[in-house]
């Protein structure tokens, strides 16, 4: 295991370097001269342009620019927003808790819907229940989540008037209002992941129900419900939980659109606003942080997988 973990860690480093290179290269695709965009009204003045180029290392070669940028990024300095002149890291730090709240609630929805549905599918394999749940799952995967959000607003907020259609109240300010503003977007985000979790749970449960220890438990007279929940599900959940961690990417992609639909000032709204304001340092910073979060979570999932599953510990 020691060796396995070390080689896993050794894999992460080149990935992180490549991710940063990729994110930095995005800038090269940009049409026009960044210095001219930054200079605004003064773009006609060559002295101003030259000063901006020197400050931002834009007059240096690509490798020098990259090393300069990466070196500062290592110290948590992702530069300044061209728009608001706040630091990119402070912008990200202020938006991250909002999206984290949404993400946690979405995962709660996904687990609460996906795992029981998957268990029922596996236990009632090839019955009408199995087909129905699979059908709903496939429909969930085929619905663009921004459209689901719009439909929920239409029905729950516009027609029924039960929940506010948009906006966000922080948890610390008023937790009831906060939940009221986030429950719909969290459901929208969670439903796509619920469908994936259902499929994983179904196949993991089918495998687990086939195992010798399940037959042993049944043979010694353990009730069917206890067999399913205590013996099969417990073992089936290990891969499901680690696979759930990999859905973070889906969640962050989904957050971009969901936050737009519900006007929630989170991580996703930050990148969309930055894209429209041509605020490239913010776009780069957000993509870099998302990718690093994803790599880190992947690593944690891998380690957890080994820690939870004793059979892998010796290998």
């Amino acid at each position: 295991m020691r060796g396995g973990l070390a080689s896993r860690l050794a894999q992460v480093i080149p990935t992180v370097i490549l991710v940063s290179l990729l994110v930095f290269s995005l800038q090269q695709l940009m049409p026009g001269d960044p210095a001219a965009i930054l200079a605004g009204e003064e773009r006609g003045d060559p002295a101003v342009l030259a000063q901006i180029r020197t400050e931002l290392y834009l007059d240096r070669s690509f490798p020098v620019q990259y090393l300069h940028w990466a070196g500062r990024a290592l110290h948590g300095d992702l530069g300044y927003s061209w728009r608001t002149h706040q630091t990119v890291s402070s912008l990200i730090a202020s938006k991250l808790p909002v999206t984290a709240q949404l993400a946690l609630m979405a995962f709660a929805f996904a687990l609460a819907i996906g795992v029981p549905a998957g268990v029922i599918c596996a236990v009632k394999r090839d019955t009408a229940w199995d087909w129905l749940a699979n059908g709903i799952g496939l429909a969930g995967l085929s619905t663009p989540n921004f459209w689901l959000g719009i439909m929920l607003i239409l029905i729950v907020s516009v027609q029924l008037g039960w929940l506010p259609p948009s906006g966000y109240v922080p948890l610390a300010e008023d937790w009831r209002q906060s939940l009221a503003t986030t429950v719909m977007p969290a459901f929208v985000l969670g439903n796509a992941i619920a469908a994936v979790l259902m499929r994983h749970t179904r196949s993991a449960m089918l495998t687990a129900l086939d195992q010798d220890y399940v037959r042993t438990a049944r043979a010694k007279g353990v009730g069917e419900l206890a067999v399913i929940l205590r013996h099969a599900l417990r073992n089936a959940l290990v891969p499901v939980i680690t696979l759930a961690a990999l859905e973070l990417g889906t969640l962050l992609s989904g957050a971009v659109l969901t936050e737009q639909v519900f006007s929630i000032p989170g991580f996703g709204k930050l990148i969309v606003d930055a894209v429209f304001n041509r605020d490239y340092p913010v776009v780069q910073g957000v993509v870099l942080v998302t990718a690093l979060l994803y790599v880190l979570l992947n690593l944690i999932a891998d380690i957890l997988y080994v820690l939870i599953n004793p059979r892998l510990r010796v290998a």
Binding site: Q11, P14, T15, L18, V19, L21, L22, V23, L26, Q27, L29, M30, P31, L138, A139, L141, S142, T143, P144, F146, W147, I150, M151, I153, L154, V158, P165, L248, G249, T250, L252, S253, G254, V256, L257, Q260, V261, I271, V272, V275, F276, R278, Y280, V283, Q284, V286, V287, T290, A291, L292, Y294, V295, N298
Partner: protein
Amino acid sequence: MKGSPGLLAWRRFVKRRAALVGLIVIAIFIAAAILAPLISPYDPVATSWTLVRKAPSLAHPMGTDENGRDVLARVIFGARASLLAGVVAVAIAAGIGVPFGLLAGFAGGVPDIAISRVIDAMLACPFLILAIALAAFLGPALTNAMIAIGLSAAPIFARVARGAAMDAATNEYVEAARALGNPPWRVAVRHVLPNIVPPLMVQATLAIASAIIAEASLSFLGLGQQPPLPSWGSMLNAAQRFLTQAPWLAIFPGVAIFLVVLSFNLVGDGLRDALDPRAR
């Protein structure tokens, strides 16, 4: 031809009724997209100030939008943007991903390590966020959205091709082809590539579904098809402002996306079962 693998796979595919229904729905949408100028009841960009936000009626079965344009006409023409984006983006993704995946899986060693690390790095950026960032740097346009989606989906194809190529490379006929003195590129293209086509077809069908959602998402954000040309995503964006007064604007484009994406998913699942009889 009676017992050919292709025919057997087709028979297994047809047996899955859901997949067949999916295929028919896709055919209808493709026909609508191609024949749009012939079957559309109105001009999709013709505005009319006397017809602003009229509810569905016999004359306008899906109602009219905020500029008095016929929604049905826009949904029909919108199929062009969605299907084109789905197919072109996946062609770009496969065109870039498959050669690299084939090289990595077949050559092994240093090329494999290098390509695999790049795949990992690209997969670490969530698909849609990468596509949004690319579309942002390339500038908002339908073509750029297709390129952005295609580039973002390329690593998935590379990974599938790599895995399948590694599998196929262990076959005895590949060993035999190599022993006969065929150059490596010939072995890869003539003997390994045909064997990785089935998993790639499944991947491509499912990827078209994701690409159509991605195009709708980018257009919804304003990074895809530009107005006044119709796209389902941008129609939904406009619809959001009139949810109370004109809910039909938000319903029909969404149903269209849902039907097309669901159909591609059904066909993809059906293909997987038909091409790999061992699964399930």
